[in-house]
């Protein structure tokens, strides 16, 4: 089952419907567990391929039990073991090939299960008052089909609060309508917008290495530079929209993962708006502990601001490396971490040069914000080349134009991104300013019905069309 398909949405809606047959938490948990197991079964038909995943879950649960029983010394070992098992199962290329399992096995969603298991282990080790998480709750939390494959990464407490509540959170017609509208919006993003952006990327990639006139090559490079972040946003946030809405229909609130990320005017702000649950997780469990530890060891006050810079680098280097197992992702990590650090240094430099007030004044300047927004966008786009392309493709792409031509392309991309994002922000403000007594017209339920109907129709039609083969030479003229 494709995770953003009609089938997935229908499956989720069916699970939500059955889940609402009773308000009992036992019933809702049973339905969620059954749905999650069925979902796994739909993703892979041979039960044997789940054995490594089951082993990973068992390993995590074993560690959790030890910590719950007060063996706090086992925390580090449990975490290291889970970390190694994850790297081994994901076949990170820096490990020798010979140690990997060579029969096929299921790893979809393992990255997110890994975060959930680590979160449980760290929390269990750190808690002064111990709590017990039963195997059923553990499985529900780690295998929840709404968050299994691409997050969002939910904290256990938040999950348990909704899932095991005696009185489930309310679900009336208004909320249901909002969730259905969100599913349609997500479906449209994934199946229409993302598809169109990916199409543009694939065509530009082909054209950049073809014998085209320079102007067309530059245009292909320009599209290649700009289009992938848009694809990724539409694809990922669309999927997140669908699962958040499905979970809400099952009376569980998942955390938001995106907050209009391309409105961010700096790299630092961007990572507060993009894949929020991942960066929050890493800030909680990597950045903060690392910063505290370094501040304890490195005393000079003059150095302390730079410790934050270093911690940002480490944290967001890990963000990059976590995304994939090949050397491209190391570069992606270096760039992501490097971007954060340089941005932090820039911020520190400006504060030192202009003073806090001066810096704040500059940050409020519309032009500064607009150019910062554009710069953040193209920096993200640039780093993403090491996210989506192989070394061979990267080589082909960058060899297609000279250094000065590429600089020109990125400059044009920066200016275009600045202009278009500023225009978008302005349009958004203008549209939302059209209000009635109940609030902005655009977010009224009537407007939502209009655009959900339109987006739904377009998404349905395009999905149907693109799942059909293109005709060959058509002979119907006769």
């Amino acid at each position: 089952m494709d995770t953003s398909s009609f089938q997935f949405v229908l499956f989720g809606l069916a699970a939500a419907l059955v889940s609402n047959f009773s308000r009992s938490r036992v019933w809702r948990s049973a339905v969620l567990l059954a749905s999650s197991l069925v979902f796994l079964g739909l993703l892979a038909h041979n039960p044997l391929v789940f054995i490594p995943l089951a082993g990973f879950l068992l390993l995590g649960y074993g560690g959790l039990l030890l910590l719950e029983r007060g063996r706090s010394k086992s925390e580090v070992w449990s975490i290291l073991t889970v970390l190694f098992a994850y790297i081994w199962l994901k076949k990170y290329t820096f490990l020798p090939e010979s140690i990997f399992l060579h029969s096929p096995y299921f790893t979809l969603g393992l990255s997110y299960i890994f975060f959930r298991v680590l979160h449980l282990l760290i929390e269990a080790g750190d808690r002064s008052e111990k709590r017990h998480i039963g195997p059923g709750a553990y499985l529900l939390y780690t295998l929840n089909f709404t968050t299994l494959l691409s997050g969002p990464i939910q904290r256990y407490d938040e999950f348990a609060r909704d899932q095991f509540a005696q009185e489930p959170i309310p679900l009336g017609p208004r909320v249901m309508g909002l969730q259905l509208e969100r599913i349609v919006r997500g479906f449209f993003k994934v199946n229409v917008l993302a598809m169109l952006f990916d199409m543009a990327r694939a065509d530009a990639l082909t054209q950049i290495s073809q014998p085209l006139p320079l102007s067309l090559k530059l245009y292909a490079a320009f599209r290649l530079a700009l289009v992938y972040p848009l694809f990724l946003y539409a694809n990922f946030s669309g999927y997140i929209d669908i699962v958040i809405a499905l979970a809400r229909l099952m009376r569980v609130r998942l955390p938001e993962n995106f907050a209009r990320p391309f409105s961010a005017s700096s790299v630092l702000e961007f990572w507060n708006r993009w894949h929020i649950t991942l960066s929050t997780w890493l800030k909680t469990y990597v950045y903060n502990p690392l910063l505290v530890a370094l501040m304890r060891r490195i005393q000079p006050a003059a150095l302390q601001p730079f410790l934050g810079v270093f911690c940002f680098f480490v944290t967001f280097f890990l963000v990059g490396v976590w995304h994939g197992r090949t050397s491209e992702f190391i570069i992606f990590g270096v760039m992501t971490g490097g971007g954060m650090s340089v941005n932090k240094l820039w911020q520190l430099g400006l504060v030192r040069g202009l003073g806090r007030k001066g810096y704040r004044g500059l940050s409020d300047q519309p032009a500064y914000v607009a150019f910062g927004r554009g710069l953040n966008f193209i920096w993200f786009a640039f780093t993403l080349f090491w996210f989506w392309a192989s070394w061979m493709q990267i080589d082909t792409i960058f060899a297609a134009l000279s250094v000065s031509q590429w600089l020109g392309v990125w400059l044009a991309a920066w200016l275009s991104a600045t202009l278009l994002l500023a225009l978008w922000e302005w349009l958004r403000v203008v549209l939302l300013s059209i209000k009635t007594a109940e609030g902005p017209v655009l977010t009224s339920r009537y407007a939502r019905v209009v655009y959900a109907s339109a987006l739904g129709l377009i998404a349905f039609v395009l999905t149907v069309l693109l799942n059909q083969p293109a005709p060959g030479i058509v002979y119907k003229a006769f």
């Binding site: 909002l178 199409m199 149907v464 069309l465 005709p471």
Partner: protein, 401 residues
């Protein structure tokens, strides 16, 4: 026990919807869908107008002794959704040749071209077809006076071509040029188009609606059924027309279909059987040419998906755009003919999609211009001694733009 979390502001407004909204909201939804669907279909019908008549009005489609053929001295006009208005004028021999079927003039090198709709230049004004452009291009390259008599015919696949081949020999050719597409293999035995006609053609609107509704529920899946019905709308054509301008999307969509078997690395049993039938027809055509002492050449012109794959230089594992090209070359050469291979030239042609009608698949006028350059280059390369160019031509398809 874990207490329920305080609900957020939006959810606190969990008051029942006003009663009117239970009617109003679905009505707004339906109205939106109706208006959007209706206006798009209206727009699509305006943008992609299709005439009721076309080249079929000038053709005899039910004579099994000749296959589909043109009516002598017939003239008709037609427009496919993606094409311009096109005139089809047949001479007194029933050919869209742009000249009468008369004996050739002394000193003129006459090429008689056979093939199906691509050779005939369907949906393209005759003067823009490669049949019309090749003589001057060849004359430029070779310095010879060349004329091309076009006997290409819609639905003139390989077996049908054998039925009318005597006409080609009677036209006093110095060279017979067979223009092949993958359809010549796929539909090798087809003589009359009736088998491929819309089974619902001529049926009343209500009966057609019923049949299509039946298709939805009798089909393999509801999605397939919906797609089958929706595929008949002009909206589908409009969307496909724009989506298929993307080469990556077109190739992806094309490879989903069962027609794409000829692009696989290994042809399946069905394609092998059809190749065998094609081989039988090629044996006959080439044998009769040889007996008549007329040199014979064949050129395989790629369809959109093939050209796009070759141009991109990359295709999914298990596929190879050259598979059928190689198989056809082997057949043509094995019977003593000359095979003009223009497919590799598409490696240096970026974005070949602009040379085809995106949905229909036939080459457009620009495509015919590209074919002209490539075929002329091959003919003048020395493969046909009588047409050897004084100076070897350089492949310059961009000139055709």
């Amino acid at each position: 026990m874990i207490p329920s979390r305080a609900v957020n502001a939006a959810e606190e407004k969990e008051a029942m919807l006003p009663r009117r909204d239970w009617i109003l909201l679905p009505a707004i939804g339906l109205l939106t869908i109706g208006l959007l669907a209706g206006s798009t279909e209206f727009l699509a019908r305006r943008m992609f107008y299709e005439s009721k008549t076309g080249v079929a009005s000038c053709m005899v489609l039910n004579d099994p002794t000749t296959g589909a053929r043109g009516i002598a001295n017939a003239v008709c006009r037609g427009k496919a959704p993606e094409s311009e208005w096109t005139e089809y004028r047949f001479n007194h021999c029933g050919h869209r040749a742009g000249m009468e079927c008369a004996p050739k003039q002394p000193g003129v090198y006459r090429i008689v071209m056979i093939g199906s709709s691509v050779a005939m230049g369907e949906y393209v004004q005759r003067e823009k077809t490669f049949a019309a452009l090749l003589p001057s291009e060849l004359a430029r390259l070779t310095g010879r006076k060349v004329e091309l008599y076009n006997e290409g015919m819609g639905w003139g696949f390989s077996h049908s071509t054998t039925l009318r081949f005597k006409d080609a020999l009677q036209a006093q050719p110095d060279l017979i040029l067979w223009v092949l597409t993958h359809e010549d293999v796929a539909r090798a035995p087809v003589v009359l188009p009736t088998a491929d006609l819309d089974p619902n053609a001529g049926v009343s609107f209500s009966a057609k609606a019923w049949l299509r509704a039946h298709d939805i529920f009798a089909g393999k899946s509801i999605m397939d059924g919906v797609a089958g019905v929706f595929g008949h709308t002009r909206t589908a054509l409009l969307l496909r027309h724009f989506l298929y301008r993307s080469q990556s999307q077109y190739v992806k969509s094309y490879l989903l279909g069962s027609n794409a078997g000829f692009l696989r690395t290994e042809l399946d049993a069905g394609w092998k059987a059809r190749l065998k039938e094609f081989d039988g027809d090629a044996t006959e055509i080439e044998g009769r040419s040889k007996m008549a002492g007329v040199p014979f050449a064949a050129v395989f012109v790629p369809i959109h998906s093939q050209a796009a794959m070759v141009s991109a230089g990359a295709w999914p594992p298990g596929y190879d755009p050259y598979t059928l090209d190689n198989a056809m070359r082997a057949i043509i050469v094995s019977h003593g003919g000359t095979y003009l291979d223009i497919l590799p030239d598409f490696r240096s042609i970026p974005d070949p999609g602009r040379y085809y009608m995106p949905v229909d698949g036939h080459p457009n006028a620009q495509g015919h211009a590209v074919y002209t350059v490539l075929i002329a280059k091959e003919l003048a390369s020395g493969a046909i001694p009588a047409l050897r160019a004084a100076v070897q031509p350089q492949g310059a398809p961009e000139r055709a733009k």
